[in-house]
Amino acid sequence: MKRDGKDITLWSIAITLVLIFALVPVLWLLSLSLKPPEQVADGRIIPETFSLDSYKSLFEGGFDESPFLHPLVNSIVIALITTVIAITLAAFTAYAIARLEFPGKRLILAGALAIAMFPPVSIVGPLFDMWRSFGIYDTYPGLIIPYLTFSLPLAIYVLTAFFREIPWDLEQAAQVDGATPYQAFTKVIMPLAAPGIFTAAILVFIFCWNDFVFAISLTSSNNSRTVPAALAFFTGESTFTEPTGSIAAAAILVTIPIIVLVLIFQRRIVSGLTAGAVKG
C-alpha cells in the first residue's frame, strides 16, 4: 500500500476520532474527580485548581462509615470467588465438549447460549423471594450464585474455543504412558490450557465487576452491596450538595484496575472476546 501524505492525514484523523470517542468520557470523570468540591459545578473541562478532596471523602469514617470501602471489598471478593468457581466448573465442561464424544453436547452449548441471552430481570423477582426465604438475601452467596449462572456460558464458550486449539496428541501420549484420563487432564492439559483459562477468568471477573441489576435487587445494605450498586446510592455531604465529585472519584478508582488489566492483557482479551465468533 502506498503511504502517501493523503493516506497518512486521513489515517491520523481516523485515529484521533477513535481516541476522542473512547477517552473523552473517562477524562471528564477524571477532571470532575480532581476538582475541589466547590468547583465541581463550574463546567470547566480542565480543573482550575486540583484537589484530592473527593477521593479523601470516599475513605472518611473508615471501613464501616465510608460509603465506598465496604462495597469495594464486596466487589473484589464476590468477583474473585465467582471467577474461581466459574472457571473450575467451566473448565470441566469445556474439556468434555472439546475432547469427548457424548450425546447432549450440542444441547449444552445451545442451552448455555440461551442462558447468556436471558434477561436478568426475568428471574430477579423469584430470586428475591427465594433468597429471602433461604436467608441468603443481602449476602455474598446471594450474588455469587446468579453471577455463576450468567458467567458460566461465557467461560464455557471461551474455554471450549481455546481447548479445541490444544495439541491433544500429548494427552494420548500421556495415556499411552499409563496416565489415567484424569491425570492426563491435570498434568498435561491444564498447563497448556493456562492462557485460555486466564483469559476466561479476566472476562468473568469483568462481568461480575460490571453487574448492576442483581446487585441492586438482591442486596439491601453495604454488607454485600457491590460498587455499581453503592454508586447509585451515593449521597452528597449534605442534602443540598450533589455527590458528583465523590461518584466521579469512586468511578475513577474502580476503573483504573480494569484499565490496567485490559492494557496488559489486551491481546488475550481480544482473542477471548472473539473466540468462536468465526469458524476456522
Binding site: W11, L32, L100, A110, P119, S122, F212, I216, L263, K279
Partner: protein, 305 residues
C-alpha cells in the same frame, strides 16, 4: 435430534460408555448450576405471574389465572415501555453497527497506530456500565457538564428535561460502552476476507464503495448477523444507563425498569413477574426471528461479554 443420531450404533463399547460417563460427570456441575438459577426461577416466575401477590399485603394472595397478563397488556405504561425499549435497541444497535464497522475497518487497514486504536477502544469495554452512564450524565448535566459550554450548544439546554433528549444521552452511553465489542466481533470476520479479492476487484475497476458492498458486506453477513443478534438481545435488557440517568422519569422507562419497579420497589411479585415473563417471551421471539428468519448459525457465535 442430535442424540438419536448418535445413539444409532446399538452396541456401545465400554470405552465409549466410560467416555460418556466421564463427559456427563464433567458437565453436570455447570449444567446444574445454570439450570437451577434459570429454569427453576423462570418456571417460578410463571407461577407467580398467575397470582395476585403483593408482598406488602401477603394475606390477599390468590390465584387469578391470566388476569395479570390482561392488566399489563392493556396498560398504557407497558406499551410505552415496549416502544422505549425497541426504540433504544433499534437506534443504538444501528449506530453501533455502522461505528463498529468503521472502527473494525480502521483497525484492519492500520497503516500505523493499530495498537493505540485497539487499546483505546477496549477501554469502554472494561468500564462498568453504571460508571459509563454517570460519565455521560455528568458530561451533559446542565450546569456542571461541559457539553453545554461547547460552541453551538445552548448553555441553558436541559438534556434530561425531555424524553427524546434523554434518550439521546442514554443511547450515546450504550453505544459508547458496547461498540468496542461490536468492532472486535466484526474485525474477527473482516480479517478472514482474502485480500486478493479486493486486489482483483480493483484491477477490474471497482470503486471503494463497490468493493465494500459487493465483497465486504456479503462475506461478512454471518459475522454481522451474529453480532446483531447478541447486541439486540442484550439491548432488550437495557437497564443500568436508564436507572442511573433518569430512573425512568419523563416516560423513559424500559421494560426491565418496569419489571424492577414492580418486583423490587413495589414488592408486587404478581404483576412484576408478569412483566418478567413477557420480557422473556419477547427475547425468545426475537431470537427465533434471527435464527429462523435470517438463518443465523448461533453455534458460530458466542455469548456477549
Amino acid at each position: 435430534m442430535e442424540a438419536s443420531a448418535e445413539k444409532a450404533p446399538a452396541k456401545v463399547s465400554s470405552r465409549t460408555r466410560s467416555e460418556r460417563k466421564l463427559a456427563w460427570m464433567l458437565c453436570a456441575p455447570a449444567v446444574i448450576v445454570m439450570l437451577l438459577v434459570t429454569a427453576y426461577p423462570i418456571g417460578y416466575s410463571i407461577v407467580l405471574s398467575l397470582q395476585k401477590l403483593d408482598l406488602r399485603f401477603p394475606d390477599q394472595t390468590e390465584f387469578v389465572g391470566v388476569s395479570n397478563y390482561g392488566t399489563v397488556l392493556s396498560s398504557e405504561l407497558w406499551w410505552t415501555d415496549v416502544f422505549n425499549t425497541v426504540f433504544i435497541v433499534l437506534i443504538s444497535v444501528a449506530i453501533e453497527l455502522v461505528l463498529g464497522m468503521a472502527i473494525a475497518m480502521v483497525m484492519n487497514r492500520a497503516i500505523f497506530g493499530r495498537g493505540v486504536v485497539r487499546t483505546s477502544v477496549l477501554i469502554p469495554y472494561g468500564i462498568i456500565t453504571v460508571v459509563a452512564a454517570f460519565a455521560w450524565q455528568f458530561a451533559f448535566a446542565s450546569e456542571s457538564g461541559f457539553v453545554n459550554h461547547l460552541p453551538f450548544v445552548s448553555e441553558e439546554f436541559n438534556w434530561f428535561g425531555g424524553r427524546f433528549s434523554s434518550f439521546a444521552i442514554i443511547i450515546a452511553a450504550e453505544v459508547w460502552k458496547t461498540t468496542p465489542f461490536m468492532a472486535l466481533l466484526l474485525l474477527a470476520g473482516l480479517v478472514t476476507i482474502d485480500n486478493q479479492l479486493y486486489e482483483a476487484a480493483k484491477v477490474d475497476g471497482a470503486s471503494a464503495w463497490q468493493r465494500f458492498t459487493k465483497i465486504t458486506l456479503p462475506l461478512m453477513k454471518p459475522a454481522i448477523l451474529v453480532a446483531l443478534l447478541f447486541r439486540t438481545l442484550e439491548g432488550f435488557r437495557v437497564f443500568d444507563s436508564i436507572f442511573i440517568m433518569t430512573r425512568g422519569a419523563l416516560e423513559t422507562e424500559s421494560i426491565s425498569i418496569l419489571g424492577f419497579n414492580q418486583l423490587i420497589s413495589r414488592l408486587n411479585l404478581g404483576l412484576g413477574s408478569t412483566v418478567s415473563v413477557l420480557l422473556f417471551v419477547i427475547v425468545v421471539i426475537v431470537s427465533a426471528i434471527f435464527i429462523k428468519g435470517f438463518g443465523v448459525k448461533v453455534e458460530e457465535g458466542r455469548p456477549g461479554g
